[in-house]
């Protein structure tokens, strides 16, 4: 397919609207096309900016009350008019189903199982971290600064490595939440891209197949050691992200991964 035709699919690709075959074709093109790669980066930056900073408008209490009263009045009218022929109270059923979504927010519609929701949480953690000022709680490229910082805020001590020499410098660390519990998130850089590496003790979350996932323009990789469960998420290409995860695995195996916690 031509560059022009593929370029037209950029938004559908980033919005997760392409079938996997088409998405694969697009990624193959992306790997060799600097223009599309730059367009993709711009789109990701725009999306991050919108989600982080575009205002949402919560309804005021006054509006809430006004709508409630309006509905109550309408309800009273229609109850009188319909008494002769009672109908199922479908508004209540509708309201109940609407309430399910009201609790969820925009990112939660995709849950199809425990792993799915963990990977959703990991993805949201990464996207959240891209907001201005949210990237790191401890900003340091020194692993001997980052690691002790976690000791003070977590009940486990995550392995912290620096891969600056291999092109993936440590940027810092932050505290995040997955499954309602605090976890360590390490941030690594790669050119203009960032990688979030989330790590928590093995056994906290169900073991799951470590198939790569691609969602909303980000790749997610999961793996486990006897001691820890890892998630890596980034808008980097899958090859580079795999390269990065390989460095972490190697570092883990040479460090013995510590005694860990089970």
């Amino acid at each position: 397919m031509s560059h022009e035709n593929l370029r037209a699919q950029l938004d559908a690709y980033l919005d997760g609207e392409l079938a996997s075959v088409e998405a694969g074709d697009f990624e193959a093109h992306l790997a060799g096309c600097a223009e599309c790669t730059r367009d993709r980066d711009d789109r990701l930056a725009l999306r991050t900016a919108i989600r982080a900073a575009a205002p949402v408008f919560p309804a005021s209490d006054a509006l809430r009350e006004r709508v409630r009263q309006g509905l109550r009045a309408r309800e009273a009218e229609s109850a009188g008019a319909r008494r002769a022929m009672p109908r199922p109270w479908s508004w209540l059923a509708l309201a109940a189903s609407l309430a399910l979504v009201a609790l969820g927010g925009w990112g939660l519609g995709l849950r199809s199982g425990a792993t799915e929701s963990v990977s959703d949480e990991v993805l949201r953690s990464h996207i959240r971290s891209l907001m201005p000022g949210h990237l790191t709680d401890v900003l340091s490229s020194d692993q001997h600064t980052v690691k002790p910082w976690f000791n003070g805020v977590l009940d486990y001590s995550p392995p912290v490595y620096d891969f600056a020499g291999r092109g993936y410098p440590l940027v810092g660390g932050r505290l995040d939440y997955v499954g309602g519990r605090p976890v360590a998130a390490l941030v690594y850089g790669r050119r203009r891209h960032l990688i979030s590496l989330l790590v928590w003790p093995a056994g906290r979350t169900a073991a799951a197949p470590s198939t790569p996932r691609f969602s909303q323009g980000y790749h997610l990789l999961r793996w486990a050691t006897p001691a820890y469960t890892y998630w890596a998420v980034s808008d980097l290409g899958i090859a580079e992200l795999k390269d990065f995860t390989q460095l972490v695995r190697q570092a883990d195996s040479t460090a013995g991964a510590g005694p860990g916690r089970y």
Partner: protein, 164 residues
């Protein structure tokens, strides 16, 4: 219990661009939803949300027609707004620093047909198909409107273009 009142208000607020009219639109839309509740044929929470936002959206557009305000927008024309300009590209790093005020102003400057797809996609996280149902266009049109809306936002938010 008023599910989705905030989502409804956010959409109405972006479409009318002021609090007072947005409140009227939301009030009107919820009463309409109640009146036509038997026409809801979908199943599950997602389709209920889409159904409600469809009513909000249509209420806002008929409000605009009734008020006869062109203040809302430059008239929408599919061809006029087809931004195929390849041009320069904004610096991703600078976009990252876009403030709340700049973003809102940039979105408010879009024609309403672009504004609503941005809100439904980026703030409500809806699929192209769901957005198409709300807006009443095919999914392919949703894609092209989103694409053009984003091109415009990138141009407006690019710092060196500034007040343009």
């Amino acid at each position: 219990m008023l599910p989705h009142l905030n989502a409804a208000y956010t959409l109405a607020r972006y479409l009318t661009r002021n609090d007072h009219d947005a409140e009227d639109v939301v009030q009107d839309a919820f009463l309409r939803a109640f009146t036509y509740r038997d026409t809801f044929r979908g199943e599950g929470a997602e389709s209920a949300r889409a159904w409600l936002l469809t009513i909000v959206r249509n209420t806002a557009f008929s409000w605009r027609r009734r008020e006869g305000r062109s203040a809302l927008a430059t008239e929408f024309d599919e061809t006029q707004h087809s931004d195929s300009v390849a041009g320069e590209h904004p610096e991703a790093a600078l976009l990252r620093g876009a403030t709340r005020e700049r973003l809102q102003r940039a979105i408010d400057q879009l024609p309403p047909e672009f504004r609503e797809v941005i809100v439904l996609r980026e703030l409500e996280g809806m699929s192209y198909r769901e957005i198409g149902d709300v807006v009443g266009v095919p999914a392919g049109t949703v894609m092209s409107r989103l694409s053009r809306a984003r091109e415009r936002l990138q141009r407006v938010l690019r710092p060196e273009v500034g007040g343009d």
